[in-house]
Structures are given as C-alpha cells and as structure tokens.
C-alpha cells in the first residue's frame, strides 16, 4: 500500500478522497490555488502545497506543477478526483513516466473511452446496445444519408471528443443540419482540438441511468448497481438516486451484465461508470459513454451498498485484487443525492458568488454531506459552482425523500444564492415523487424555476426583516429629519443597496 498520496483536486471531492486516505493510514498531500488558500481540503491534509495561481489553467490543470509537487513531497501516487485532469490521458501517462501511480485506469483506456466513436465500437464488440449513429461527417460527403433516411429528425450532432454539452447540437429540421454540423465541429475543434462530428439518434423522453463498475488488474470486474441521473439542467446532473425507479430486476440484471462486458472489453481497471439511455416506453437501453473516473454521485452507491469506493480505487491502484464477487453485492434501502450549487434557479441557473455568512449543514441519522466549503469562506467565480452534495438514505424511496426534505429545510446557507429552494420543489414535485420522470423534468415544469407563492413564509420573512431592521440599525438614525418637503422613511437617506 502507498505511504503517501497527493490529491490533485479541490472542493468536496478533495476532502472526500483525503478522508479515505487518512482512514487508511496514508499520509496526505493537498494542493491549492490562491483563492483556495484556506479551503477545507487544505486544512485537512497533512501537507499542502501552493499551486501559485488563480485560474484553473495555471493551478489544478497544470500537470507539470502537480507532478513536480508530488515528487517533491515524496508521494507515490496521485488521486485526480473528477473533472480537471482526471480523464486526461497525457496527465495519466506523464504520472506513470515520472514513477507515480495514477489512481484510475491507464492512459490507453482513458483515450479509448474519451473518443465517442471508439468507445461505441468497443461496446458493439462487447455485444452492448448503442445509440444508433452515423459515420463521421465530412464536408461534401453524403455517407450520413443512410442514417437520415432510417432515423430522420430530430437528431443530435455530437463531437467525437465532446463533453458537457460542448460540440453538441439538437437539430429539428433538415435546413438546420449543415449549419449545426459546421458550428459543432468548429466548437469542438477549439474546445478539444478535435473537430470530428457525427449524427446520433435523439430520444426526447429518455432516462439517464448509469452503472458503477469496479475492476482490478487481474481482470475481475463487477458492477455496483445503478444510479438514476435524469434530473439535469444544462446537461449537468442535479439530483441522483439509487435504485432507479425505472428498472425492474430483469432490466437491472441485463444492464449490469452489459456494463461489465463493456468494461472488460475496454480493458478497464479501477472504478468507472457506464452511462446508458433508457427508453421508458420500450424498456430498451443504449450505451452512451463510460466515465473513467470517480463520479460526483458515487456516495449514493456507497450508502446503499455500505462500501467505500475511494478506498477500492486506492487498493486497486496499489495492485490489490477485488475481494468481492458479483453475488456479494446487495443493495439496501434507497439513497438520494442533491447537489448544492451556488446558482440562482430563478435566473436561468446563473452562477452566484459571495461570502458564506452562514453555512450550517444539518446532521442526523441517514444524512451525509460531502462539502468543500465552510462558513465564512468566499465562493469565487473561478471554479465549478457545486458547493456540496447532500445525501439521504432511507429504508425505502419515500423515507429518503422525506429525510432529504427536512434536511434541505434545515440547511441555512446565507451570503450566496443556492439552488436549495429549487431542490425542495423538485423532490416534492408529483413527477419526481411518482418516480416517473425523464431528462426533460427541469425544462418541462416551469414551476420549479419560478419564484413560488410561499404564502405565510413570504409574509413571515417580511415581518422578520422589518423587526430585525428596526432593532439592528441604531435608533438615533431614525429620529433624524431630512427637511424634505414630503414625509420620508428614515432609512432612505442611507442610499441604495446593491444586491446580487
């Protein structure tokens, strides 16, 4: 086992990985950018090194700095977390070349899975159903005509190297196709250095269900059940749950076998996730992509299986074999994750920054918070807007929803606008509570993103604000007269407040 590991990330995932490493008795090294100097992951680690910079490019994405610091600190391995360099094959290869263990799959596997066409071919070879797609598009060529006549519109234009919605276009009509292909290709070329694009069948009412996989270097590969991830905004997940309300036993078995077959066919080692689209009308599922990293939403799997996935990542990377077989994997109860984003759901999920005047997470049985921030900390615009993940566990789905509901209601966050009110509405929405929802959920129900009528709570807030203001502002100011020709409120003289 390693004696020292560097965590090349920030925020909640850095904290999460550091905690597991420390519980395993491994010495820990954190890295930080200038704005993160006092962040929780820095204080938690045994050692912390400055990356001397502000932007992601000059800090958490600077592979040379990270590798040099790992060597300097005496770390034997690097845990990349998710995002940043976690799925960068060159970083992985550079670590290996520098004599460091990259905690994840090898660089060839990362390259293979990062290419949508090659990963699809791998899935087909493994007998896994894939979303129908056209050959690569080339200007002036007509070899996508077969795809068009079979599937027609609407369809998706996708970039081979795309991700996070970049290089992707929904095309409704033939006339929009060529411009969409050209612009997606341009966007992907500038964002990923690879402008190859293709057409893919579009499922308007699909569900997004993924399977967690664990594989060791000896070829033992198992799956750890599914996660339902259909509540999304801007192609990013917001709420995840397991088990998925969309799967029955037979479908779960079949998808799980497909996930394992794909991981084996790709030569996968370590923890990974196989993403599928499920068409709820037919029960048919299609391979979408495989993520070669620990996922944001891994805690719900940990809660229902009572397993530490990060510990398995470290053990596998250190050369240990799995001590579990597929039959040992038994899920218990239901877990729900809500991602707490610093964003305004009433303003098209616009990011919000500021200082956390209040950050007081709820505690109790069946609750877990993976957080990368603390009270008093500044939330800056430089990195991702996810502050934390709140996870609830219950004996059944209703129990975990109820527990989540009370937890969200009792989580004071002040100073930065968060999506907590949106999350409260979402988990109580009939479409969510019924379990019968798909990826259109957020867009379909405008009441989730419109300021609601909270009746007496709105009135209570107003009353509290008035009482508090009167008590908070020194009384003498209230007696000042302004000499204006009309009666004036005493506080108007204080000027206009500017609000985020």
């Amino acid at each position: 086992m390693f004696s020292k590991v560097l965590v090349a990330n920030r925020g909640e995932i850095a904290v999460r990985v550091l905690q597991t490493l420390q519980a395993m008795g491994i010495a820990t090294v954190a890295v930080y950018s200038d704005p993160d100097k006092n962040a929780p992951h820095v204080t938690l680690a045994d050692q912390a090194y400055s990356l001397n910079g502000v932007s992601a490019e000059e800090t958490y994405l600077d592979s040379k700095k990270l590798i040099a610091l790992a060597k300097e600190s005496g770390a034997e391995a690097i845990h990349p977390g998710y995002g940043f360099l976690s799925e960068n094959p060159s970083f992985c290869a550079d670590c290996t070349a520098a004599g460091l263990v990259f905690i994840g799959p090898n660089s060839d596997t990362i390259s293979l899975l990062g290419d949508k066409i090659r990963s699809k071919e791998t899935a087909i070879r493994a007998g896994v159903p894939v979303v129908p797609s056209s050959p690569l598009w080339e200007p002036g060529e007509t070899h996508h005509q077969g795809f068009l006549s079979q599937w027609g519109f609407p369809l998706l234009v996708k970039a081979t190297a795309g991700g996070g919605g970049r290089g992707m276009r929904l095309v409704e009509r033939e006339a929009e196709l060529l411009p969409a292909l050209e612009s997606a290709s341009r966007e992907a070329a500038s964002a990923f250095g690879d402008g190859r694009v293709f057409l893919e069948r579009f499922f308007p009412a699909a569900r997004h269900v993924e399977f967690q996989v664990l594989a060791d270097a000896s070829g033992n590969t198992i799956h750890l059940m599914e996660r339902e991830c259909s509540v999304q905004r801007r192609y990013q997940k917001v709420i995840e749950e397991t088990p998925s309300p969309a799967l029955d036993r037979k479908l779960r078995e079949s998808m799980g076998e497909s996930a394992v077959a794909l991981a084996k066919s790709a030569g996968y080692t370590n923890a990974g996730t196989v993403e599928f689209l499920v068409d709820p009308t037919t029960g048919q599922y299609y391979f979408l992509e495989m993520n070669a990293r620990i996922q944001v939403e891994h805690p719900i799997t940990e809660e229902t299986l009572r397993m530490d996935l990060v510990q398995w990542q470290v053990r596998i990377a250190a050369g240990e074999n799995l001590t579990l077989s597929q039959n040992d994997i038994r899920s218990s109860g239901h877990a729900l994750e809500c991602r707490i984003y610093a964003e305004d759901a009433y303003d098209n999920f616009a990011p919000s920054t500021g200082t956390l005047l209040s950050w007081q997470p709820p505690h109790g049985m069946g609750l877990r918070l993976d957080s990368g921030v603390s009270q008093g900390q500044e939330v800056t615009p430089y990195y991702d807007s996810m502050l934390a993940k709140l996870v609830s566990w219950g004996a059944d789905r209703q129990a975990s929803i109820n527990r989540m509901s009370k937890a969200l209601e009792n989580f004071p966050v002040v100073g930065v606008t968060t999506n907590i009110p949106f999350l409260m509405r979402a988990i109580h929405h009939p479409a969510f509570t019924s379990g019968n929802y798909d990826t259109r959920f957020v867009a379909m129900y405008g009441e989730l993103t419109a300021p609601g009528d909270n009746g007496r709570i709105d009135a209570a807030a107003m009353e509290l604000a008035e009482d508090f203001w009167q008590a908070s502002v020194p009384k003498r100011a209230g007696t000042r007269t302004t000499g204006q020709d009309r009666p004036q409120g005493p506080w108007e003289s204080l000027g206009r407040a500017s609000f985020p």
């Binding site: 009792n410 009528d453 807030a461 107003m462 604000a465 009482d467 000027g495």
Partner: protein, 188 residues
C-alpha cells in the same frame, strides 16, 4: 437562553404597506403586500400566533430563532444584516430585503439605458470581441464572461458604435460593473 421578543410595535401591529421600510429584492416575486393581505383573510390558513418570533440568538447584525406559523408548525430562521441589506433565511427559503430606491434629492431612479452594458454575472472576462470605435449590430457578441465553468455571452442590446470597452480578457468582473459603453444615440 431564549427570550421572547416583546414590546415591538411591529409585532402587535404588523406593518402595513405604507409603514414598511424595506422592499423585497429576492426572490423576484409578486408583491408581498398583496400576498400578506390575501393570506390574512384566508379562512383555511388562519393567522399565526400572536407572538410568532422566538429569538434564540440576538446580536447587532444577526438574529437566529424560531418562527411559529399557525397550527403549531415552527420554522427556523436567521436574519443577517450586511450594510443596508437584510438577508432572511427561513425554512429553506432565502430572501433579500433592501431600502426602496429613493427618488428624491436628485438621485434618479434607475434609468433604462442601452448606452451602458453592465455585467450581470460575477466572473472572468474570457474574450473581448469588439474594440473602441467598432460598429455593432443588435445581438452581436461583445464579449464572453466565464463564471464557474459556464460561458455567458454578452450581446449588444442595439445597433451602434462602441465608445469604450472597459475590460480586457482576464479581468475579474462583478455584477453591475460597466463592461462596454455604446456611443449615445443621436437625438433626431
């Protein structure tokens, strides 16, 4: 520990529309005045307890406590004052209140102007696509701001000429900051 808030005039006689000092600025919502009046006469939702506010912590700029609604339901709340802003957190919802904008003493209320393009989101300027003196058309991209990994495209609100670009790539910008000034439209 806890103390009952008493002798507050506002308690016994909730402020009416004309007496209120603060204005709700977030969430953007229909008027709380309409809301309060409609709720007070709602027979299915009787008024809250006579002294609904129980303070557990009371500092100059911070209150924490419980708010009793009707039918025994109690919500936790926090009140924070930052300068002239009041943040109220209650039962998972967040509110901002501020003083109403004064229209007296020469301070004009916010003029709707298309001459100045202000920043609507905190972030870092990624690209600047125009320069001083450029002609632009409505909807043309002026610059792109990156905020928390999301790109926000700032477009021109009208046809015109760029008088001054106030930022350059790499600048950190905040809400309300001036990004670009367009030459004022000539009055004809």
């Amino acid at each position: 520990m806890s103390q009952q808030l008493d002798n507050s005039q506002a308690q016994d006689n909730p402020p009416t529309k004309n007496e209120r000092l603060l204005k709700q600025v977030y969430p953007p919502t229909r008027s709380v005045d309409d809301l309060a009046s409609s709720q007070d006469t709602d027979p299915a939702n009787p008024p809250a307890a006579e002294h609904p506010i129980q303070l557990l912590k009371q500092e100059q700029d911070y209150w924490e406590g419980l708010y009793r609604l009707a039918q025994g339901k109690t919500l936790r709340f926090q009140a924070h004052r930052v300068g002239q802003q009041v943040h109220i957190w209650i039962g998972g919802e967040l509110y901002h209140f501020a003083l109403p904008v004064s229209s007296s003493r020469g301070r004009t209320t916010q003029r709707i102007s298309t001459d100045e393009i202000l920043c609507s989101v905190p972030g870092v300027v990624l690209t600047v696509d125009v320069a001083d003196g450029d002609s632009v058309v409505e909807g043309q991209t002026l610059l792109v701001i990156e905020s928390m990994k999301t790109e926000q495209v700032v477009k021109s609100p009208r046809d015109g000429t760029v008088q001054r670009v106030a930022v350059q790539p790499g600048d950190r910008v905040d809400r309300g900051m001036r990004l670009v000034a367009l030459a004022p439209l000539e009055k004809t």
